[in-house]
């Protein structure tokens, strides 16, 4: 471990099969409180699947997942309450197109956290304010730019005051000039002490903000360490090949 703090995510021995496809082949991922873990690797390496196993959007074929002391795979766990503590941000935003930005943010506050409407709206507006979009509260997703839509999606997650945030390629479907606004919000989150697991190709952000970089390939964690070490002096041949390929671009 790099950061000496209590563990908040403990995923051990995770396997995932999709039919004949063996996507995760026994992965351990431990994340400490307030840590930002950055997961990189070629497409198809299983990084997104690993992330989705953490909040059980995918059911792991084998292994155990504890988040904030809750056994996510236990049948007796109220998975919907547990997911309140784990925010997730998707590559394709997945905003609800039939609701306003504020409606997107307040839906789970009202239905899962059971807040009365006015309190949910106050919390929702505060969350939108935090991502700099309080003035867009009444807009529908169709009226937002990609960068704004993704920041609303982040607000939707942080409004529930999660203990951990999962980011699944949050900037991959954005135009280059819009990436910065989303990364700025993520940086602010990090500085506020949020625990984050990020799957992304934004290597600059990884260098500047990550505590630890995890390199995955072919369903396994190949190598991990501080960003400086992984980027400057990778130990494994596969890591070296991947890093050099990325840096050429």
């Amino acid at each position: 471990m790099i950061v000496e703090a209590p563990l908040i995510v403990e995923a051990r021995g995770i396997h995932k099969h999709f039919g004949a496809l063996h996507v995760l082949k026994g992965v351990d991922l431990l994340v400490a409180e307030r840590e930002l873990v950055f997961v990189i690797g070629p497409s198809g390496s299983g990084k997104s699947t690993l992330l989705r196993c953490l909040n059980r959007l995918e059911e792991p074929s084998a292994g155990s997942v504890m988040v904030d002391g809750i056994d996510m795979l236990d049948r007796r766990t109220d998975i919907n309450r547990a997911r309140q503590r784990i925010g997730m941000v998707f590559q394709s935003f997945n905003l609800y197109p039939h609701m306003t930005a504020l409606g997107n943010v307040t839906l789970a506050l009202r239905k899962v956290a059971q807040k009365p409407r006015d309190e949910a709206e106050a919390l929702g507006l505060a969350a939108l304010d935090r991502v700099g979009l309080r003035d867009r509260a009444g807009h529908t997703p169709g009226q937002l730019s990609g960068g704004q839509a993704q920041r609303v999606a982040i607000a939707r997650a942080i409004a529930l005051e999660p203990r951990v945030m999962l980011f699944d390629e949050p900037t991959s479907s954005l135009d280059p000039e819009l990436v910065g606004s989303v990364l700025a919000v993520m940086r602010e989150l990090r500085e506020s002490g949020m625990t984050m697991v990020v799957v992304s190709h934004e290597m600059g952000f990884a260098r500047a903000a990550a505590d630890r970089v995890v390199f995955m390939d072919d369903g396994l964690i190949v190598e991990q360490g501080p960003p400086a070490a992984i980027f400057a002096a990778p130990q494994q041949a596969r890591t070296q090949a991947f890093i050099s390929q990325i840096q050429r671009h």
């Binding site: 919907n80 997911r83 998707f90 997945n94 839906l107 239905k111």
Partner: protein, 226 residues
């Protein structure tokens, strides 16, 4: 009489029309009653079945799909005749009105279930995942996030299907329902003059032209756009 006058006297005979228009008007009331009943019960039942199908209970869904397929494959008139002439053999004697209502409502239920279900499956997976990741339950996600989007998608096909099935109320004339066509037909045989048919035709146009035009508007207004 010239040919034109004879034509007018035959098909637009003022005396016959004056005598039978109250009958046709009564037929219009019956047609509207039947249509409203069919639309409300058929769509409500179809929506309920689509929501039940989303629960994914395998045996129930197989049964559901089979029943829906049967109702889609059979001509509505065959279903009406089956109910009206078949059920009395087991001592259930539905009236022509009830038979027609039941048959058309079942057909609309089947078609609307298919349309609602297609709408539900058309909502992208990401919507389910985003909602579930914030802790919403399956039911909350289905009703609060997926259905509002699905309903919007289903409005155009549902509208045209509903109009088509509603026109089937004319089939009631076969089992002695006194809706427009039934009234017009018996007036024709009583007066031995086709003018009541012209009145009936006009009655249908008065009822359905606005519906068809409105349907055209709805279909363009809600065309596949996101």
């Amino acid at each position: 009489m010239t040919g034109w006058e004879r034509f007018l006297d035959t098909f637009f005979n003022a005396r016959v029309m004056a005598k039978y228009w109250p009958d046709i008007l009564y037929g219009m009331v019956v047609t509207v009653e039947l249509a409203v009943l069919v639309v409300i019960s058929g769509i409500a039942a179809g929506l309920a079945l689509a929501l039940l199908r989303a629960l994914g209970i395998r045996v129930f869904n197989w049964l559901l799909i089979f029943v829906v397929d049967v109702l889609r494959a059979l001509p509505p008139l065959v279903i009406i005749v089956l109910i009206y002439f078949g059920l009395p053999s087991v001592d259930i004697v539905p009236s022509g009105f009830v038979s027609t209502w039941l048959a058309l409502a079942l057909v609309l239920m089947a078609f609307s279930e298919e349309i609602f279900w297609a709408g539900i499956t058309a909502v992208p997976r990401g919507q389910w995942e985003a909602a579930r990741s914030t802790g919403l339950s399956f039911i909350q996600t289905l009703l609060g996030v997926v259905m509002p989007q699905a309903l919007r998608l289903t409005i155009p096909p549902l509208t045209s299907r509903t109009i088509a099935i509603t026109k089937g109320t004319a089939l009631g004339s076969v089992v002695a329902v006194s809706e427009i066509l039934g009234q017009a037909s018996s007036a024709v045989s009583n007066s031995y003059n086709p003018s009541p048919l012209m009145l009936g035709a006009a009655a249908y146009l008065v009822l359905f032209i606005p519906v068809v035009v409105a349907g055209r508007w709805v279909e363009t207004r809600f065309a596949w756009k996101r």
